[in-house]
Symmetry: C2
Subunit: 511 residues, 2 copies
């Protein structure tokens, strides 16, 4: 016979085991927990929208690609040389057909995402020409660092889609899309990124997705398997590869994320409301072109607006204006009922407190404005000129914290812990209460890089900053990396396609 005390101990061990077996928290599909904030009254949101329509109609957009101008013209827009003047009825019709919910597909169903208002997706720093870490220093981005960053992104659930973290500059441009698609599918199973560098590269990239992941043509055409970011050239210019990308992605049913990069005071008006007006006009232009290319095409509203330092002209990130423009952009996106992309960022040149402050400010800006997708959320440095490995790891801590904050806090009666408080006398502690033992394994977020040791132990361990500690974390992540089960197969399936493509001279980029 077991004594009562032993029974109790036995039950505790049981509880412990159950707690241990609990699944890890799901950071894969996140929903915003915070109510969106506002900087504009409803009438001023409407006024900005109206003004943006007026900009498109009366000032027009410079659209370099003849095919795009033709689409606008056929819809009734006035075209003069390379200027396109888009009437409001054309924009309004486009907003009627643009879907507000987009399913991002992936070879791994667990990685799929609902891209819609309310969802919270993160993407690592993207488009960096350089890579930097504390072991190898700063160097031009190459295929090795591109592969590493894809592996790193794949390794953390809180990053939801791939992006071109580091630019593999050692691969010739006409073959670069082969390397980038092969790497994403060989080492990853998250929603894919395709650069809009002209029809030839885009269509070959789509071919590679179908081949590598063995997707039937109609399944590809009816789902979003790839996305790209379309940057307008503010003010009011849509260049060739961007316009071509909008058209080609739309016709193939793939997603474009229209993102004016409006730096207030430089390439955009200096006022928050003015920069957002220009951003809104340019985004509406891109959204409209997507719908003209194919009605119902998946397209995301986007904004990456911040300010420049008026003394030096340097772009700044995580500033009050950046956060204000995020909140305003969220209001505009909800006004036109489209999901939208925001961005955090950092001008800092190394993984220091400035870098963390800048990135966190606009990360919170994205949270309180309910951005659907927040780009540059990990690793971005130097205003995007470098991808920092140690910053990447430290940024993940912030992202994982943000992910945890989307989880519901249980406040059932048992959580109020009466029994536990009854059990513990004044001056006592709660370490051994039943309430604690039943919950301690998964009660709290376990830090990735934060070191909670006291000062003495930290000094004994080498007085390493969180940047220095991050080195071992990304190294270990890469050493222990296991590709997804689909990786080897995709790589094998792509080998022939790529060899053939290279033999045929690759694919030219559109300038």
């Amino acid at each position: 016979m077991m004594s009562t005390e032993n029974k109790r101990r036995s039950r505790r061990r049981g509880d412990r085991k159950v707690a241990h077996a609990a699944p890890a928290k799901n950071y894969r599909q996140l929903k915003h927990a915070f109510k969106p904030q506002e900087i504009f009254t409803a009438d001023r949101v409407a006024a900005i929208h109206e003004m943006a329509l007026k900009v498109l109609q009366e000032l027009g957009m410079k659209v370099l690609l003849p095919e795009a101008r033709r689409l606008f013209s056929e819809a009734g827009a006035k075209v003069e040389d390379d200027m396109v003047f888009i009437g409001r009825e054309i924009v309004e019709a486009a907003l009627q057909t643009a879907p507000n919910k987009i399913n991002m597909r992936s070879i791994n169903p667990l990685r799929e995402q609902l891209y819609a208002n309310g969802s919270m997706l993160f993407k690592a720093g993207a488009g960096c020409p350089n890579a930097t870490d504390l072991v190898r220093g700063r160097r031009p981005g190459d295929l090795e660092s591109y592969v590493e960053t894809i592996k790193l992104v794949q390794s953390f659930d809180v990053l939801h889609t791939f992006g071109p973290a580091v630019e593999p500059q050692d691969v010739p441009l006409h073959e670069r899309h082969y390397a980038m698609m092969d790497t994403q599918m060989r080492y990853g199973d998250k929603p894919l990124f395709v650069y809009a560098r002209g029809r030839a590269q885009v269509e070959q990239s789509f071919d590679m997705i179908r081949q590598g992941w063995n997707i039937a043509d109609d399944e590809f055409a009816n789902g979003v398997w790839a996305s790209t970011v379309i940057n307008t050239n503010s003010p009011r210019t849509l260049d060739n590869p961007m316009a071509q990308g909008i058209i080609d992605f739309a016709r193939h049913g793939q997603m474009t994320i229209i993102t004016p990069f409006c730096l207030a005071g430089a390439m955009a008006p200096i006022s928050v409301a003015g920069a957002l007006t220009l951003q809104h006009a340019e985004a509406l232009c891109g959204i409209t072109l997507a719908q003209l290319a194919k009605s119902g095409a998946p397209v995301s509203y986007g904004g990456f607006s911040s300010n420049v330092d008026m003394k030096s002209g340097s772009p700044a990130f995580g500033t009050p204006a950046h956060v204000q423009m995020q909140i305003g952009a969220g209001q505009l996106a909800r006004y036109i009922d489209l999901p939208w992309r925001s961005a955090t960022g950092a001008a800092a040149n190394c993984a220091d407190m400035q870098a963390a402050n800048e990135t966190n400010m606009a990360l919170w800006g994205a949270a309180i404005s309910n951005a659907t997708l927040t780009v540059h959320a990990a690793g971005w440095l130097e205003g995007g000129l470098s991808f920092g490995y140690e910053k990447f790891i430290n940024d993940l801590e912030a992202l994982q914290t943000m992910a945890e904050l989307t989880l519901t806090v249980n406040a059932d009666d048992a959580e109020l812990a009466w029994d536990s408080m009854y059990e513990v006398d004044p001056g006592g502690h709660f370490f051994a209460t039943q309430h604690t033992l039943a919950r301690y394994e998964n009660a709290f977020y376990e830090p990735l890089v934060a070191d909670l040791q006291n000062y003495g132990s930290w000094v004994e361990a080498g007085s390493q900053s969180s940047a220095e500690r991050a080195t071992k974390i990304w190294q270990d992540t890469l050493s222990n990396f296991t590709p997804p089960s689909t990786g080897a197969y995709a790589h094998e399936r792509l080998a022939g396609f790529i060899a053939k493509g290279k033999a045929a001279g690759g694919a030219d980029v559109l300038n």
Copy 2:
């Protein structure tokens, strides 16, 4: 005659001058701009409040000070040895008399604060036994560092009240209050902090305020010239100096900020809701005692709850649980309609990305939960064991950004910048538009320590991290420090009082 063009130029110069003469942004009195977020439904907030009342009534508080137990007993509470069982009617009566708006007075009217829900006040890291900076390293806090931190706090408007940033350990305890009050009034003119270290020290400190700032007895009694932080000893213990402080501050009309320090999983239940239930019970106990000592006494609700790391038992800050408890505490404070204090924090041992991440997370937690006062908002390191000068400077950047975010964004028609967009062709820039020239001087927040140079210039300038750059900023701030006009006078008026006090043996502290 002036040509039209010259007239236009002249007008531009005029605009520029006007912009230049615009007053600096006011960080002195801030109002929350964000709508408070919620983690609990209204019925669960009520349930936590009810459970806290039950804790006080049935489990009771251990109250070490006989005078405090007598006050509870006279109000009808059941007292058994040092345990006090407080009926809900006693707490509810106290909540009826505790004011929800408190004017924090100062010798400088520009520094006065409305301490009420909706206000946003910041206070630097407080109570640190050590000081650390990159020049002198880490050392025990002394009077020199205490004086320096008071000067630093005085120098930045975004810090609204004084606190005991660094503990001047080289001053004997029985004379320490002389040094601390003299320093605050000699070098500062912000609302003052007085340690609750027993009646003798508190009453002498109040005497010093009246003397140093030449305040008549009734003016002092009718205004809040000093505040103190009361930490309960969780779980459910109120020690002698804290209880004495509540009583003495209340009777003198000065403010106590009741702050249980509930570390979930250690000295508080492991669940967020449970830790908040204990926090709420202990805070209500302190608030009630203040009202029993003097009905209508100024008292603030407070919470500094976070979690411990369940592997090591180390306290953690800026964690998901910390932020959740801030949001929940805000809901509880609004439920009882009292202003409240929160705290950010950092376990980091140096001014690195961890430190910034931790501090920023709970800074935003305080923002989205509308904390009236956020303590430890700048300079706190090592879970409060060190005050870091470089971290202080970097944290100010975050605080100033937060302050800017409270300012209204103008979205009048002129801000939508039609003329400006009309003026600038596609591919052009906005640097020289009338709209920009009229606004550029004050358009954007000017960073304190963030370096926006590109990588090459940053390397040429010495590749300094933001922590390294901060050294010169605090050094320059101290070198250029000018005491307030009231400082020399206060110091002179206090000299005699302090000399007499010291000659009489100082004032014992209560343990």
